[in-house]
Every structure is written in structure tokens, then in C-alpha cells.
């Protein structure tokens, strides 16, 4: 268990340091954040046509309210924590990759819900927006990461026990 924690921390911090480098920011993080903004707007347009995105910004054409998706809100750090946890846990590579793919989808899907909800929350009340943005959604995204990891561990264990000789 201690080995897992130390490996997890080492991989997590290494991935995070890599994420901060200008080249990764330019080639991966910024394009990803812009894609997140476009995806959120595409989803919003299903029920509200008065929204546009430019770069990493979502803006209401009705009242001019806009949000910019910054570091910490693009789900990248949550994704890195999940990847580190799955890489650090002893398991077959095939299961790691499947877990990372499924897990990233689950984390980013909830992150789109976060962006969309904050966009409307901000138009309703800036106090509620600040509260949800700074504290509540951060915790919920992390809870999502934890639940995905626990489900993955369970899947891993069920695979191991079904392969075990009778």
C-alpha cells in the first residue's frame, strides 16, 4: 500500500510538472480546453441558441455574460490524478489502458456538466457561481475520480478472481 502511494505521488507530480511545460500547454492543454468550450456550447445550443464560444471562452449573446475555462477547470488535473492512480496500481497494461480511456470519458463528461452549470449559475448569481466554481465542483470532480478508480479496482479484482483456478 505504501509503495502504491509513493508511486502514485511520484507519477502524479511528474505528470503535473510535464503539464506545466509550455510545449504541453500549447500542444495539448490549450487545444483540449478550446475543444471543451466548443463541446459545452454545442450541448448548450440544444436548448439555448444564444451562446457562442471563442477560444476557451463561452459567452451569452443575450446578456454578454462570459466564462473562460482556466487551469483547474478543464479537468486536466483531475485526469492526471486518475491516470497516476491507475498507472501506480499493479495491474495488466490492457486493463490500465481500458480504465484510463473509460475514466477520462467519465471525468470529462462530468466536467462538461460543470462548465455548463457554472455558465448558467453565473448568469443567475455571481456569489453562487464563485462558491460552486471555487469549492463545490472541485470536490465533486475529485469524487468522480475516486469513484471511477474504485469501480476500476473492483473490475480489476473481479477479473483476477474469475481467472483464479478453482
Amino acid at each position: 500500500m505504501v509503495r502504491f502511494f509513493l508511486t502514485f505521488l511520484a507519477i502524479g507530480i511528474a505528470l503535473f510538472a510535464l503539464e506545466l511545460t509550455p510545449v504541453v500547454q500549447k500542444l495539448l492543454v490549450l487545444p483540449w480546453t478550446e475543444l471543451l468550450a466548443r463541446t459545452s456550447v454545442a450541448l448548450i445550443k440544444v436548448f439555448d441558441a444564444e451562446v457562442v464560444s471563442f477560444g476557451k471562452v463561452l459567452e451569452s449573446t443575450r446578456n454578454g455574460f462570459a466564462v473562460s475555462i482556466e487551469a483547474g477547470c478543464n479537468g486536466v488535473e483531475a485526469a492526471l490524478i486518475l491516470i497516476a492512480a491507475m498507472l501506480a496500481f499493479p495491474s495488466p497494461w490492457k486493463r490500465k489502458l481500458a480504465g484510463i480511456a473509460g475514466g477520462l470519458f467519465a471525468v470529462q463528461a462530468l466536467n462538461v456538466v460543470r462548465v455548463v452549470s457554472l455558465f448558467y449559475l453565473g448568469q443567475w448569481s455571481l456569489t453562487a457561481f464563485e462558491w460552486a466554481h471555487l469549492y463545490l465542483w472541485q470536490a465533486l470532480i475529485m469524487l468522480d475520480v475516486l469513484i471511477v478508480w474504485l469501480l476500476w479496482l473492483q473490475w480489476l479484482r473481479s477479473g483476477e478472481s474469475s481467472r483464479a483456478p478453482a
Binding site: M1, F5, F8, L9, G12, I13, F16, A17, L20, A71, G72, E77, A78, I81, L134, Y135, L136, Q138, A139, L140, I141, M142, L143, V145, L146, I147, L150, L151, L153, Q154, R157, S158, E160, S161, S162, A164, A166
Partner: protein, 199 residues
């Protein structure tokens, strides 16, 4: 009807606890944040060349009082004070509390768990202070000895303290404090289920 998976039941229990835990944290934040602020004061003082003279609280807002001299546009000089919102670094506490309260006998680990978070919260607060000194310009940063590698390390420390530790620390603390039940949930239950299926 299949019984709900244990992990999902745990998730729903956490969700049920999270709102009251956040409410309680926000209500007591002005007091709860103080141990982290005291540790942060020591860390920031040591890191920033002894430039921290003291800290002051106003509600949940924390102010670092420094010995750093600043000059206004009109030529007046004064000592710099830096405001930090500690809540941005301590919101992991209600998450940890919800995780523990949703776990079997987890409430017994509440106090040690919250204590485990203090160094990470202090890190975030201290490096927020250091990052603000860097943003204030070279004249301010040099008085706090935040130049060269220390400036780079401060920037990395700030990013770690603001983006990673607040969310990572509560989950790691929970997994560490609940390693027994976690192992039982993930290993023993699978074994028990297989045994039941084979019988």
C-alpha cells in the same frame, strides 16, 4: 433485482454527506483555517527570506504582514501586506469529512484526517503568498529573496498548492486512513462473492 454495487452505495452516501459537510466547513472556516494559516506563516517566513512579520485574520480572510517596503506612485513608502483566501486551499476538508462519514466507522478518523490535511493547506496558502510577491514585480520579489531558482520553485509550488493538493490530499488521506476497509471492499468482497457463487 441486483443489489446496488458497494462502490455506488458508498458514492451515494458521500453525496448525502457532502452538503452538510460543506455547510459546516463554511460556517466554522474562520476558526478551522487558523492552524493551516499558522503553519503557512512559518513556511512563508522561512521561504521568503524572513520577510513575514505576522498574520492577521478578518473573518475567513488571511493577511500576511511583511517587512517588504513598497513605494506608491506619489513617492510615499509603506510596508506590503498580502491577502490570501484560505478557503481556496481548505475546501478539501468537507470532501474528506464526507468520505470518512460515508465509510464504516470513518467518523473515528475525522480528527486525524483533518490534521493530515493541514500541511497541504499550509503549502497552498504559503505559496499563494509567494506567488503574489512574484507578481508584484522584481523590486518586491528581491526583498523576499525570491529570485533565480527560488522564483521558479515558488511558481511550481503555487501551481501544486492550488491545482493539485487541495483535491488530491483529501482523497489520498481518505485512502490511507481507510486502507483496511478499502482492501476489504475491493479484495475480500470479490473473494466472498466468488465463494458464494461456487457454493
Amino acid at each position: 433485482v441486483r443489489p446496488l454495487n458497494e462502490v455506488w452505495r458508498f458514492a451515494f452516501r458521500v453525496l448525502a454527506w457532502i452538503a452538510p459537510c460543506f455547510a459546516a466547513w463554511y460556517w466554522i472556516a474562520a476558526w478551522y483555517d487558523r492552524p493551516a494559516a499558522w503553519v503557512a506563516r512559518a513556511m512563508a517566513g522561512a521561504w521568503a527570506g524572513g520577510s513575514v512579520e505576522g498574520i492577521a485574520f478578518e473573518g475567513s480572510l488571511l493577511t500576511f504582514l511583511t517587512t517588504i517596503e513598497v513605494r506608491s506612485a506619489s513617492g510615499e513608502t509603506g510596508l506590503l501586506s498580502v491577502d490570501v483566501n484560505p478557503l481556496v486551499y481548505t475546501y478539501g476538508a468537507p470532501l474528506l469529512a464526507a468520505l470518512l462519514l460515508a465509510s464504516p466507522r470513518g467518523w473515528r478518523m475525522l480528527v486525524p484526517g483533518l490534521a493530515l490535511l493541514v500541511p497541504f493547506q499550509a503549502w497552498g496558502i504559503a505559496f499563494d503568498f509567494a506567488a503574489q510577491l512574484l507578481r508584484a514585480g522584481p523590486a518586491v520579489a528581491s526583498q523576499a529573496a525570491l529570485v533565480g531558482w527560488k522564483a521558479e520553485a515558488s511558481a511550481l509550488g503555487y501551481q501544486l498548492g492550488s491545482l493539485m493538493f487541495p483535491v488530491m490530499a483529501p482523497v489520498v488521506a481518505w485512502a490511507f486512513l481507510q486502507r483496511g476497509p478499502l482492501r476489504a471492499l475491493l479484495v475480500d468482497r470479490a473473494v466472498t462473492r466468488d465463494r458464494l457463487q461456487s457454493e
